[in-house]
Amino acid sequence: MRYAETGYNLEIDLTRGSIDRVETDPRLTELHLGGLGTNTKILWDRVPPETEPFSPDNLLIFATGLLCGTPAVGCNRTIVSTFSPQTLLMAYSMMGGFWAPELKHAGYDKVIIRGKSPNLVYLWINNDQVEIRDASHLQGKGAGETAELIRQELKETKAQVAAIGLAGENRVYMASIEQGKASASRLGIGAVMGDKGLKAIAVRGTKDINIARPAEFIGLCNEVLKYIEVREKNPVPGVMPILAGLGSPQEMKLVDEEWHTTNFMWGNSRQRRKDFWTKEIEEKWTGTQESVRKRLISCYNCPMKCGATISIPGISTYMMKCFSKLTYTMAAYSDLDFGFKIAGRATEYGVDAFSTPQVMAFALELYKDGILTDQDMAGMPSDNEGKFYWLLDRIVRREGIGDVLANGTYWAAQQIGKGADAYAHNNIKKHEQLPLKLGMLNPVYFLMYATGEKINITQIEGQFPQSPFPTLEERAAFVKDWIQVPDEKFKQYLLDWEPRGERSNPYYPTVEMSCEIVDWQETMHYIDDALGMCAGLSSFPLKPPYHIHNYPALISSATGIDMDEAGLWQTAKRNRTLLRAVNVRRGMRRADEKPPEDHWKKRFPQLEAKLLDEYYQFKGWDNQGIPTKESLQELDLAYVSEDLEQRGIIKK
């Protein structure tokens, strides 16, 4: 018997209309765990590097993590992997919610989709019965509306539905896959789903998930739950409220947005408004949030309440989480009321709330400076908020200028020309970043921005504080119960890290320390993404309940696989290196690995080069960021090094 996982994948070919249930190799679980790890392996094996994202040969994989659906608290993520039309590299967006546990109860670890359907279809997975069904009547419907219509049509209120909206159908590069309160938003995976003619996947499962050593496993889960309870009652002092607790930043619960509104950039990631947050704004925004928020809500088997049901008169009720309440607000220099309203429409269209507002602000900046003309913007209303609604509607329909903007700021700027690329200033690897511009280079963040394969800072940071605590007393208090560190030396790094002076950014943490800190943070994310664990209970917040010391026993008791700390670290490194190899084989090199020019005011080219050199070496990569033959062999990835050698990427 297979434990924690089901041992079966669903293989769907939309061109041929075929459905196969395929047993998986348990050896691959030992090598890669599941989720992102095994997704990466499948993409390496089955999608040649010359494959275009919008090719029938590109795969779209919906995966559960290895521990999804087990009693492991907060383990509910669906990991969607494919190749991104925007970056042309591997994309792995993830979503919480209820879909992954349902798929596992239906008896599958992954749904692997290839080919393209000539007509719009949806997939209905009901335990052993799997059907490809016509979705022509759902064409143009919103993502949430689609889910409701499918549940009604199937007469199955308990079906979990992941769907695209209009943006995905029209292959908009910011298109998301929506699923109730959750969404897999980044890197245009909704566009790949739309390209395949797949409107939605509905799933219902009523089978058991089995555990190898139940008594031991449940004991560990109970400890995690107890820790969460205690940790929530004891927020970390000395950091901003949204980072003091667990979960994603508690944007739905908290109204105090002084930190975001006065530190993050407004408009096209241009202007910091240090004096924005006033008593008056606070009162107004508190009123707005409390009037529209019906309830704080969770994902499957998680006590954190990172999401909310948002109900505004005249707009259909929708669910929201995290930072999207401010992205539209700040891009438009507007207020929270506007943010909640436009996010409702955007969620139904199914677009990424990070990239989309930035694309719209970028367009308006180009228009203001005469690069986009009255002709381009013909029909645009004159009021500020109206402009954003108008642009959103054009983008998701690919109408007029919307067709250009639908490809994101990088590609739009290429197409527009006339110096527009200077306005697409906030990208890494062609992908829009958080609107954050800072003063002094932080060496740890430099490495994370440059090398993170998710191309999204929140998917690599965590664990180590973002900035030093002002006093030694505070630092000493912080490290006292810091049980999550993989090694005691990290405590000393933090104790010695000061806001200014010799031991401060950019030269402290030192290059060597920075490599170790980044490696630790990234490793925890790779473990989470293979297990399906929410980063909000593990790799993202400070002092999380899951860490390198309790994970091995948890994995081992759930699955029966022998696992210790060193073995787990090695597995995460294998997954991380394989993902790097996938992207290297598609052409990614050192030149691509740079944060936006204006991310920090004070830059240090020599130090930055040294950081990259040392980090690459630390990771077992050459000075182009290509994994070396030796490091690949050491990770049981000799077949990868052979392939890279044959292609001349690794020199023989």
Partner: protein, 181 residues
């Protein structure tokens, strides 16, 4: 029959605190697995979350007594301006709905407050609901002393519910004839 004092164990439900995570369903099914915690499956759970997120309906219901026949009440309720079927929040498993039935056998499921040896401090669903939508309450009540049915009586009673007493007697008669023959 005489009156006796009985400890009543109940789960108090505060729907306003429910965040819809369904940990109660998961842990209930895991606790009642055999061996304990060896598997989990909300479909076997004795507590279910009736949930319609867009209507803001979050209602945990734990399984009560088995109802042998379909009830006559099929009233509609209007709560907060929205209409609900009474069936939606009934605690019984009954012939007309598949809720609170063991999916393999179809036998009814009933919440047993996680009876265990040694006893738990609280049922598992309450322990795992750290948002306190579910809390545990004990109170003493005077109740009529019940005559405890034996295993065979319980079994026969449910057969009688399903087929009627006459059919059982006929069957027993036929079986004993064929055994003799």
């Amino acid at each position: 029959m005489s009156k006796v004092k009985k400890k009543i164990k109940t789960i108090k439900i505060d729907v306003d605190k429910c965040n819809g995570c369904r940990a109660c369903e998961m842990i209930c099914s895991a606790f009642h697995a055999n061996p304990k915690y060896s598997s989990n499956n909300p479909e076997r759970s004795r507590i279910r979350l009736i949930c319609e997120p867009l209507k803001d309906v979050y209602l945990p219901v734990h399984a009560g007594e088995y109802a042998a026949a379909e009830c006559i009440g099929r009233d509609k309720y209007v709560i907060d301006g929205k209409e609900y079927d009474e069936c939606g929040f009934c605690r019984a498993s009954c012939p007309s709905r598949d809720l609170f039935k063991e999916p393999d056998s179809g036998l009814p499921l009933k919440c047993d407050m996680c009876e265990d040896d040694p006893p738990l401090s609280e049922p598992m669903c309450v322990q795992w609901c750290i948002n306190d939508a579910l809390t545990y309450e004990e109170r003493e009540e005077e109740v009529e002393e019940e005559e405890k049915l034996g295993d065979m009586e319980t079994g026969l009673e449910s057969l009688a519910d399903k087929y009627g007493l006459q059919k059982i007697m006929d069957t027993v008669a036929r079986m004993s004839m064929s055994k003799k023959g």
